[in-house]
C-alpha cells in the first residue's frame, strides 16, 4: 500500500491524535501532574474504545451483529488468569515471597504468553464457529450467536479443566504489586494495536470487501468478493482483538470477567449502533458516548442503568438507524470526509 496515501487519510489522523492523547495523559499521570483518578478513567476509556473497535470489524464494517461476542473477551480473561494462576503460579508465588512487585521481565513474559494463548483459543473458536455460523444470513446469524457466549465458555472451561485442572478464577496475589500506571500502559499498548489494526482494515482492500458485504452481500459475491472467506477472517480478527481486552481487564482486576460477559456484549453492540455502522470513527464516538452515559448512570440512576441503556438502544435504532455519526454525515455533508 502507498504510505503517503495511508497517512493522509482522516482516519489515520484521528487514530494518531487519540494515541497521542492517551500518551500525554499517561505521562502526566505518572509524573503526578494530574490526579490518579484520570488514569483510572483513561484506562476505562481505552478499554471501551478498544472493545468497540474490535466489535466494529465484524459489526460496523461487515454488518454482522455478533451477540455473544463478549465470549472472546472472556477467553482473553480466561487465558490471562490461566497463565498467571496456573501456568506461572509457582514462579509468581516464589518471587512474591521475596519482593513486593513482580519484575518487568516477568510481567512482559506473562503478558505475551497471555496474548499468545488468547489468540490461539480465540482464533480456533472463531474459525470453528464461524465456519458453521457465517453461512447464515443476518437474523439467523444473530440468533446462532446468542447462546454462544454461554456454550463456548462452558466448553473452554470444561476442556481445559481436563487438560490441567483449573481451580479458581483468582490470582494468587491480586495485582502482584503492580500499580494502576502499569495497567494504564498495558491498556495503551493494546490500544495502539487495536486502533491501527482497525484503521488498516478499514482502508485496505479487505475493508472494501467487508463494506461491500455489509451493503449488499449478493452483489458483493457476484462482483468477485469471496464473501464467506472474508466474513470468517473478519470474525476471527474481531475475536482476537476482543480477547486482548479481556487480558487487559484480567490483569487489572485480578479475576476473570466472565460474570459480566452479558453486559459486555451489550456494550459492544451499543457502541457500534450508537456510533453508526460503516464508519471508522462511529464506534469510537459510540464508545465515548457510552463511557459518558455509563459514568452518568452510575452516579445518578444506579439500578436504572440497564433500563435506560435498553431504552437508549430502542430510540437510536428506531429514530436514528444510521447512528450519531451517520446522522451527522447526512446533515452536514462537509463533515463527510472526517467522519469516514
Amino acid at each position: 500500500m502507498n504510505i503517503s496515501r495511508l497517512v493522509s487519510r482522516k482516519g489515520f489522523i484521528i487514530s494518531t491524535l487519540l494515541v497521542f492523547f492517551f500518551l500525554v495523559l499517561g505521562l502526566l499521570g505518572s509524573n503526578g501532574v494530574i490526579s490518579r483518578l484520570y488514569i483510572a478513567n483513561g484506562t476505562d476509556l481505552m478499554y471501551f474504545i478498544g472493545i468497540g473497535l474490535a466489535m466494529a470489524i465484524i459489526m460496523s464494517y461487515t454488518g454482522y451483529v455478533s451477540f455473544g461476542h463478549a465470549v472472546f473477551v472472556g477467553i482473553g480473561s480466561f487465558s490471562a488468569a490461566y497463565i498467571l494462576a496456573v501456568f506461572n503460579k509457582p514462579r509468581i508465588m516464589e518471587y512474591m515471597a521475596q519482593h513486593d512487585r513482580i519484575s518487568n521481565a516477568m510481567l512482559s513474559t506473562y503478558f505475551i504468553e497471555s496474548l499468545l494463548l488468547a489468540s490461539i483459543i480465540a482464533l480456533l473458536v472463531a474459525v470453528g464457529v464461524g465456519y458453521a455460523v457465517l453461512r447464515l444470513r443476518g437474523a439467523f446469524f444473530a440468533i446462532a450467536t446468542i447462546g454462544l457466549d454461554y456454550v463456548v465458555m462452558y466448553l473452554v472451561i470444561y476442556i481445559t479443566s481436563m487438560i490441567s485442572p483449573f481451580g479458581g478464577d483468582e490470582l494468587p496475589n491480586p495485582n502482584m504489586g503492580l500499580t494502576d500506571m502499569t495497567f494504564y500502559w498495558m491498556h495503551f499498548i493494546l490500544f495502539i494495536a487495536t486502533i491501527y489494526t482497525a484503521y488498516l482494515v478499514k482502508v485496505s482492500k479487505f475493508g472494501y470487501g467487508l463494506a461491500s458485504i455489509r451493503e449488499d452481500e449478493d452483489a458483493a459475491e457476484v462482483i468477485g468478493v469471496d464473501t464467506f472467506r472474508y466474513k470468517v477472517y473478519a470474525f476471527a480478527l474481531a475475536a482476537v482483538l476482543a480477547s486482548f481486552w479481556g487480558i487487559a481487564s484480567a490483569f487489572r482486576k485480578s479475576y476473570t470477567t466472565h460474570d459480566f460477559s452479558l453486559l459486555i456484549s451489550i456494550v459492544m453492540i451499543v457502541e457500534n449502533v450508537v456510533g453508526g455502522l460503516g464508519t471508522f470513527i462511529g464506534p469510537i464516538i459510540g464508545a465515548v458516548i457510552y463511557y459518558i452515559l455509563n459514568w452518568l448512570l452510575i452516579t445518578t440512576a444506579g439500578q436504572l442503568a440497564l433500563v435506560i441503556l435498553g431504552a437508549f438502544v430502542v430510540v437510536i435504532v428506531a429514530f436514528f438507524p444510521e447512528g450519531i455519526v451517520g446522522l451527522l454525515r447526512r446533515k452536514i455533508p462537509s463533515l463527510r470526509e472526517w467522519l469516514e
Partner: protein, 254 residues
Amino acid sequence: MGEPILIVENVTKRFGGLTALSQVSFNVNKGERFGIIGPNGAGKTTLFNVINGVYRPDTGRVVFKGTDITNWPPHRRARFGMARTHQVVKPFSELTVLENAMIGALFGPRHKDITEEEAREIALETLDFLGLKEKAGLPAGLLNVQEKKRLELARALSSQPEILLLDEVLAGLVPSEIETMVELLKKINEEKGVTIVMIEHVMHAIMNLAERMIVLDFGRKIAEGSPEEVANNPEVIAAYLGNPELALKFVKKG
C-alpha cells in the same frame, strides 16, 4: 469466431414443484451481442442466476471460456471474467460512486495483483466512459434510477470482464435514456470487445442491439436466431400474443 465463449447445455432448474428452466441449451460466441427475451415469468433471470452461479442447475452444464464452471461460486466466475448486472439495481449505497466502481476493479480478474491506485484509475476511466465522473464523490444511494443503472454497469465494467450479463438494464428508463444506453452498450461491445448477453423487455432496443437471440417461455427455449427470424416465429408470437407485423416494424426502425 472459433469456440463459443459461453455454452449453456441442457440446463434444468426446479424449485420444489415448479420447473423454472427445462433443458435450455444455447451458445454465445465471443464478441457477440446476444439477447434473451420472453414473457414475464419465463425464467430469464433464473437462467442468469444459473449462468452466474447464484443457483446450481439440477441438470446440465455451464461452460465459460472452455472451462466447466457449473459448480463454481459466483465470486469465482467474476474473477474468471464474467460480470453481471441486476434487474433491480444493487448499489453499495453508503459507499461513494467511485468506491463502487473501484470494488469492481479490485475483485475482478485482476484481484491478485491490482493496486488501489490502478483500481482507482480504471474506476475513474469507466465512470467517465459512462458519464458519471462528476458524481464520483457522492454516496451511491443519492443517485437517481438511471444513474444507479449506469453505476451498476460501471461497477461491472471496471472488472474488465470478457462477458457481461445484463438483466433488464433498460427497465425504468425514458426513451432518450434508452437511446443513450443502447449506444453505450454498442460502444462497450465494439470498442472494448466485451461479449454482451442481455435480458430485455424493451423490444425495439433489443431487436436493434442483439445480433442473435433466444426466446424463453415457461422455462423452455422456444426459438433461436436473428431478431428477424425470432420476430417471425409463430410460437414466439403466440407466447407474446403479439402482432408479427408490428415486431418486424421495430426491426426495420433500427
